[in-house]
Assembly symmetry: C2
Homo-oligomer: 282 residues x 2
């Protein structure tokens, strides 16, 4: 059986390190999370982020808004957070109701407080190969996890299935920067199996339970499962774990794989923004 | 033999259309080009851009600086152009001497005057799938040329060889937006031939003369040659035209393929920025 890429364990270690680093600070880094509406999954995510921040020793602020709030009112909250010197990091919990102009709201976040790296400025710097203020948390966490297990990327073929702005697109860009050859697949892709079968590293972010089985992967492939699908109240990934586990050389579980890494990277990004802002004030 | 994708003809048509549109304007769009140093190829490119702008009826301004100019002085020129209400479009001719911080200089250009789309803000909007003020000229010209010949991209496999910020990276992002499956290859790619052989569309931007021969392409592939290599004072592309021309379904020549389209798109981008800025003033 392939080695389990233990995202939970690595994330816990990173969180402990952040906690140690945080104790030495004279002022607490502060993360603001804006959540709009009452999506139960989003509420759980936000609570986890808040709890982790508190454990590390960060301050956090959650702004909960109803779905009937005006878009201007959401923007107003962001402007206030942008100006507030005590706030280092701002996160808009996604998804938000489609009636809102998501891109306009995200764009209102000051790039230097954009902890997800989703503003045009930060995303552009990432795409151009310049360091952004923040790298998007999920792909950053995946790269970190691969590095932890000494899985090299240079010259490797990686397929990224899915092209969301949150995972697929930044993942493909970051893999290219690590000198991987990247195949960017989407819902229009033909012969997906054939392409996936060529890949040394398969990263699935499509949101379909058990979409990837052993017929998609070659012997000794590395499998990264970004899917978080709820089936009968149970979390399951995009990958049929039982089907591929013996063929893969490394594989992330769901849960306890990519998910915890995303939260750990969010915390690291928060501290990073705090440090950048502290240097600017000096 | 494959159909020649006649970039020169399409570019000429676009330039004529821009000329007609330009005649109706009360004020002339104005393009500023900054050139640093005395690279002979760059000087020819700048002269061509200036001549084309004048032909269309645009105003143009060329700022020629010596290589021993200070970086701050280049930035100062950009700040003045940013503020100048008569200037609609600013272009930094590349390459510039490596002693300069290219990214800092490009970033100084106001995104709304960034005619190449190379600032983080515009590149980020492109990457995120939001409309930038300008799309980079070369990949935009290639997409336009493919559209002109009714070559569909949806569900097609395209390989982009090369990952520069000017061509390869924005090309891959734009192809993805057109629902193509994109293989992003670079100098570390292994089995390039095998990958290229799978592709319906091969886009080469590596800068090696006759790098792509018929062994790289499958029957009826579409070949886009972005290479501009000077061999014995003659322009030659990345593609061995004679070797692939009978196998390809469509192919761009060098010269008169991608090159003229790049200039035509620069002119279209200039008019587009003029129009955006005019609307903002009203």
């Amino acid at each position: 059986m392939g080695v389990i890429l233990d995202g939970k364990k690595l994330a816990d270690n990173i969180i402990e390190e952040l906690r140690t680093a945080s104790l030495k600070l004279t002022k607490k880094p502060k993360l603001a999370v804006i959540i709009v509406g009452d999506n139960p999954a989003s509420q759980i995510y936000v609570r986890n982020k808040q709890k982790t921040a508190q454990y590390i020793g960060f301050d956090s602020l959650v702004i909960s808004l109803e779905n009937n709030v005006s878009e201007d009112s959401i923007l107003e909250h962001i402007y206030i957070l942008n100006e507030d010197k005590d706030i280092n990091a701002i996160l808009l919990q996604l998804p938000i109701n489609e009636k809102f102009n998501k891109k306009r709201i995200i764009e209102a976040i000051e790039p230097i407080k954009d902890v997800d790296g989703f503003t045009s400025y930060n995303f552009g710097r990432l795409a151009l190969g310049y360091e952004p203020f923040s790298y998007p948390c999920t792909p950053k966490g995946i790269i970190r996890l691969l590095e932890e297990y000494n899985i090299s990327l240079e010259g490797k073929k990686a397929i990224v299935i899915g092209r969301s702005n949150i995972v697929g697109k930044p993942m493909a860009l970051m893999l290219q920067q690590k000198n991987a050859t990247v195949i960017c697949a989407n819902s229009y892709t033909k012969n997906l199996k054939e392409l996936s079968y060529m890949a040394d590293i398969v990263i699935s972010a499509v949101g379909k339970p058990k979409f990837i089985d052993s017929s998609f992967i070659k012997e000794n492939a590395v499998i990264i499962d970004v899917g978080i699908n709820r089936v009968n109240d149970k979390l399951t990934g995009d990958v049929d774990f039982e089907s591929v586990k013996d063929k893969a050389s490394f594989i992330t579980p769901v849960p306890k794989g990519v998910g915890p890494m995303t939260i750990a990277m969010l915390m690291e990004n928060t501290l990073n923004l705090y440090n950048i802002q502290s240097r600017l004030i000096l």
